[in-house]
Amino acid sequence: MKSTPTLEQAQQEVVDEFALFADWQDRYEQIIEMGKDLPLIAADLKTDDNLVRGCQSRVWLHARLAPDPDGGPAVMQLTADSDALITKGLVALVVRVLNNRTPEEVLEAKLDFIDRIGLREHLSPTRSNGLASMLDQMRRYALAFSR
C-alpha cells in the first residue's frame, strides 16, 4: 500500500528540490517547466464558474470530494490551470502538496513552502494575482466539503 506523505513532508520535498538551484533563472525555469507539465483542467471544467479572478493572471480551479481508495475519509481532488506559465507552475506545486487530502487537512494547512523557495512575492497583495485568490478559493471549497 502506498503511503501518502504528510503535508509537511510534501512541502519539505519541494523545498529540497528547489535548494538545488543556484540562481533565480534556474528556479524560474523549473517553475515554468512545472507549469508546462501540469495536466490541463478538463475543457468542460475550464468554465467561468471555476475561474478564480485575479487582476494579473487567471486561474481555473476545480475541486471534488472523492472517496479515499484505501477506505479512509473522503479527500479533495484538485485540477487547475492558469493562463500564465509562472502562475501555472506555482499552482502545480500547490496542487502537488494539497491534492488527495481531506478538507480538514486543507483547512489547517500552513503553506510556507512558497516563502521557503523564495517565491513569496507571488503571494504579495500587490501582485493581486491568481495564486493568492486560488488558495482562498481552495479553502472555501474545503470549508464547504467539511460541513
Binding site: 533565480w24 533563472q25 524560474y28 525555469e29 515554468i32 487582476c55 494579473q56 493572471s57 487567471r58 493562463d83 500564465a84 506559465l85 509562472i86 502562475t87 512575492e121 507571488h122 494575482n129
Partner: protein, 415 residues
C-alpha cells in the same frame, strides 16, 4: 517630424544630472541596478520635493486658514504659494481656479458628481472615449445612473486614435464631454484643443483627464479652453495623495459642492448653510498640506530643468524603445498613434504579461503589466493585458537597451 532634432536633444540633454536628484535610482533590485520604467503608474520623487515636505513637518506644521498664530500663517502662506505655482504652471487665470484634491480619481469623481447634479436630466448624454481609464468611466456611469442619463463612447481605431468622426458623436442631448488628454495604456495624445472647441461650440461642458499629459507636456488651460482639467501630483514628480482639479471660474461657481465639512462653509445654521468662496467650496476638511507643498516644489523642479528638453528626451527614448522592441519576434506594440507620450505598451505572441513582468523584475526592471485599469480598451484590442514601459526624463537609452535585452532573455525562458 524628422527624428534628428530629437536625437540631438538627447545628446544635449544630461539625464545623468537629472538622475542625481533621485536617490531611489541608486537602488539595486534582486542584485541588479534598478531600471525604473513604470513612470506612468507613478514617477519617482526628486530630492527637493522630499525635502520640502520634511521641512514643512519639521518647521511650520500647523493647520491652514484657521489659526491666527504664526505657524498657521506660515503653513497657509506655503500652501497658497504652492497654489499660485500650480496656477502659473497651467496658465490658469486665477489661483482660486486650482482645487486641490486627493488625485485625478478624486478630481474626476468631484467633476462627475457635481456636474451630474448641475447638468444631467433623464435622457441626457455624457460622451467619453474608448480609451478612458476606469477613473474616467465609472464616475460618469454612476452620475448617469443617478440622473437617468446615458453614457456614450467615441470608438477608437486600430492604431489607438479616436475615430476621425469623433465630433459626429455629439448630439443635441450631449451635456458633458469627458476624455483623456493622453492615454495611460496606449500613450495616444488626443487632439484636446480641437475636441474642446467643437464641444464648446455646442455648449457642451468639457472635462479633461490630464493625468498622463501633465507630466510630459506644457498644458495651458486657457489655450486649451476646457472647463475642467484633472491631474495627479504623483505622476509628475510630486507626492502621492495630492491632485488638482482646475476649473474655469464661471463653471466652478455654478457647480454644487461634492464633499462637505470644515473649511468649505461660509456660515452654518441647522436650517441652512452657505458655502465658502472658491477654491474652498471644494476643499472640505484639512487639506494634504505637505502634499500641496510637495506638488508646488515638483512644479518648480520641472521648470528648473528645461521641460522642453526633458520632453524631447522622452520622445527619443520612446522612439528608440519602439524600434528595438519591434525587433523581437512576435512583439506587437499596442498603441501606434501619430502623437504619443512616452508609453510603450506591447504584447508578445505566446507570452503572458504576468510571466514577462515577473522575469523582468528578477532582472531589476520595473514595468507595469495587466489591463492598466482600461478593461474596455483591452476588450477593444481583444487582449487581456499588456506589458507597459513608460519613460521619465531620468531614464536613459542604456536602460532601454537593458529592457530589450531582459525581454529577450525572458522570452527565451518562456517559449
Amino acid at each position: 517630424m524628422d527624428s534628428r532634432p530629437e536625437a540631438e536633444a538627447t545628446t544635449r540633454f544630461d539625464a545623468g544630472a537629472v538622475r542625481a536628484d533621485f536617490p531611489i535610482l541608486e537602488r539595486r533590485i534582486h542584485g541588479r541596478p534598478l531600471v525604473y520604467l513604470d513612470n506612468a503608474a507613478t514617477s519617482q520623487k526628486p530630492r527637493p520635493v522630499v525635502e520640502a515636505m520634511a521641512a514643512y513637518y519639521a518647521t511650520i506644521n500647523a493647520n491652514v486658514h484657521r489659526g491666527v498664530h504664526t505657524l498657521s500663517i506660515l503653513a497657509t502662506e506655503a500652501q497658497e504659494a504652492a497654489r499660485e505655482t500650480v496656477r502659473g504652471h497651467l496658465n490658469a487665470r486665477h489661483a482660486h481656479e486650482v482645487i486641490f484634491t486627493a488625485g485625478t480619481t478624486a478630481s474626476l469623481n468631484l467633476a462627475a458628481f457635481s456636474l451630474g447634479q448641475l447638468l444631467l436630466q433623464p435622457g441626457d448624454e455624457v460622451l467619453i472615449t474608448g480609451m478612458e481609464h476606469h477613473a474616467n468611466i465609472v464616475p460618469w456611469q454612476l452620475a448617469c445612473a443617478r440622473h437617468g442619463a446615458v453614457l456614450k463612447v467615441i470608438p477608437i481605431t486600430d492604431e489607438g486614435e479616436l475615430e476621425e468622426s469623433g465630433d459626429a458623436h455629439f448630439t443635441e442631448r450631449t451635456r458633458i464631454l469627458a476624455f483623456t488628454h493622453a492615454s495611460n495604456t496606449l500613450g495616444t495624445v488626443n487632439p484636446a484643443k480641437h475636441l474642446v472647441s467643437r464641444a464648446r461650440q455646442r455648449g457642451i461642458v468639457t472635462v479633461v483627464d490630464g493625468a498622463q499629459a501633465v507630466p510630459h507636456m506644457a498644458v495651458d488651460v486657457q489655450d486649451l479652453g476646457c472647463d475642467l482639467y484633472a491631474f495627479s501630483g504623483h505622476k509628475m514628480f510630486g507626492p502621492t495623495g495630492i491632485g488638482v482639479l482646475y476649473g474655469r471660474e464661471e463653471v466652478l461657481e455654478r457647480m454644487p459642492p461634492w464633499q462637505s465639512g470644515g473649511e468649505m462653509i461660509d456660515r452654518v445654521t441647522f436650517q441652512h448653510t452657505t458655502y465658502a468662496k472658491l477654491p474652498f467650496k471644494f476643499e472640505a476638511g484639512t487639506p494634504h498640506i505637505a502634499g500641496i507643498i510637495g506638488l508646488g516644489e515638483a512644479v518648480r523642479w520641472i521648470h528648473g530643468n528645461d521641460p522642453r528638453a526633458m520632453a524631447a528626451h522622452e520622445q527619443a527614448l520612446l522612439e528608440h524603445a519602439t524600434r528595438e522592441l519591434l525587433t523581437i519576434d512576435g512583439l506587437r506594440i499596442i498603441g501606434t498613434a501619430r502623437e504619443k507620450v512616452g508609453v510603450a505598451s506591447f504584447t508578445i505572441d505566446g507570452v503572458h504579461h504576468y510571466d514577462l513582468g515577473t522575469l523582468l523584475d528578477q532582472q531589476g526592471i520595473a514595468v507595469r503589466t495587466g489591463h492598466h485599469c482600461t478593461q474596455p480598451l483591452m476588450d477593444r484590442f481583444g487582449i487581456t493585458g499588456t506589458t507597459r514601459a513608460s519613460f521619465a526624463p531620468y531614464n536613459t537609452a542604456e536602460e532601454v537597451d537593458a529592457l530589450v535585452a531582459a525581454v529577450i532573455k525572458a522570452v527565451n525562458m518562456l517559449r
